[in-house]
Symmetry: C2
Subunit: 332 residues, 2 copies
Amino acid sequence: MQTGSSHGEIDLNSVTFLSPVTEEIKLVEERMRSQADENHPDLRAALEHLLAAGGKRVRPTLSSLVGNMLGAPLEKLINLGAAVEMLHTATLVHDDLIDGSLLRRGTPTLNARWSPPATVLTGDFLFARAAKLAADTDYLPLMKLFSDTLAIIVNGELTQMFTSRGLINRDNYYKRIYAKTASLFEMTSRAAAMVSPVSDETIEAMRDFGYQIGMAFQIVDDILDFTGDQNTVGKPLGSDLLNGLVTLPAIYYAEANPADADVQSLPNGGWTNTENMNRLVTSIRNSDASKLAMREAEQHIERALAHLEDMPASAERDALENLAKYIVDRKI
Amino acid sequence: MQTGSSHGEIDLNSVTFLSPVTEEIKLVEERMRSQADENHPDLRAALEHLLAAGGKRVRPTLSSLVGNMLGAPLEKLINLGAAVEMLHTATLVHDDLIDGSLLRRGTPTLNARWSPPATVLTGDFLFARAAKLAADTDYLPLMKLFSDTLAIIVNGELTQMFTSRGLINRDNYYKRIYAKTASLFEMTSRAAAMVSPVSDETIEAMRDFGYQIGMAFQIVDDILDFTGDQNTVGKPLGSDLLNGLVTLPAIYYAEANPADADVQSLPNGGWTNTENMNRLVTSIRNSDASKLAMREAEQHIERALAHLEDMPASAERDALENLAKYIVDRKI
């Protein structure tokens, strides 16, 4: 298994991980869209706007692929996929408001067009509908998992908010990306297995599959913040550092260059100095820090792929393999 | 049944509706408090602050009284009571942020002490834990009812936000107070019956019991905005009107005095003129509008009490009767 050397081999335009469930994802989107029926027209418009802004629907794709591979009923997968994507959307709505972001995926955020109060409430509405969709799977353990995961995500955001900026700490970093990203991937994959007729071992394997690709997903996101095409990523290079967020490439660089003055300044508010941080970003880009961080992401993907070997051979298994590889190969 | 004439007969200091479940409410509070264990210390402190700010725990009291009267298991009632109060608290946290309120029940609001982002996220965390507590009742229909009710509450707030201020409309008013208040009382009473070994008829009777006392509760709140002791209520007299919210006393007055210039100004932004609104508040106070509105609240209570006649004679039934009467007799 050489996910490292597979870099760039996948044609991103073909988005191969989608194919076996393209039709199912449309049903998921319809299910999401219907959640604002019978509600205020402005709320329906907001949901429409959020859905049109899109995204790749990676999470519903994950749940449908795992569920189809393992024989889950279609109806449960549609509710699960819609619940997961709705929960994800709800957290983005509140995040964008909190960060004051005006664009996401090139589309105006809700808070760019609406007042903060309307944005807070729309996020709340999406949480409510996500919970309803999760309950509609008619499976209580999934409901508990769902609410626990939401608590993990929100606690992670609060912890990040309360933690001093500029902190260089691996343990803190891993906990943060678990809460921020991996917990929802883990839940999605695990939940899809939970509603399938499979053993506890398979559920545990699929939980870890989701965990591993989720960790890889966020690490790659953090690498792209240093190495990505600024136009494609849509934010300035090194924006995390400029916000005092020390991610894995910066941690690798700091470990290798403890005497670097910019590194030493970080925990003492040095991240507020844009000039110094731009210099640090260049230093990190010129080092092998991103390569080392990518190696970690690839190790997560390797662990994820190992779980697939025990799964039934199927188009879905192949697509999950592509999905996992896509996560480290993507450019955006 | 003469709830009208019972005005002031209940000694508010004895708060008689609490007695049969005082110990159980302590367990509910402990269950709520434990929801932030293992989370960030600042989040634990926030929950502690919110719980200490208190309130009368009317909703958990309602669920415990109904559940105990009908033979529900204690453990389910504790989870249900904690879920309902946590959901209520979450909506208050976001409401206070949206309204910019700095005090609630004489205690600083969370947003008075924390940043808006931390307040948004704390509300989200409380939603997550409320959903978890609801799931812990191990009863799926309750989970669906719970998420539906949250959607009704939030849709109601959004609708209020998007509706033109100064609107004098009964239908709009009843829908608004159902979403804002009665829906949660209805859910609480219905859910407590749902987890009890009773017939569908009893569940329906208890649903309507909750609906009726919830409608009465909000009507009385709206009356107190005109007639209450300003110091006790904690906001200026007529604060609803000054915010462009036309409640039942104002609707009665407007119906009886369609030619009143202040009434006529309302839909055209007249509510922004403080001097005129203070004059209108005085006109309403000097009219029988509040008495007529109170008569409506009392009719709701009468309908609620009628349901109790078919319930098993018990200390809880007596306490529910007192709780219903207290709602129209309270001064705060």
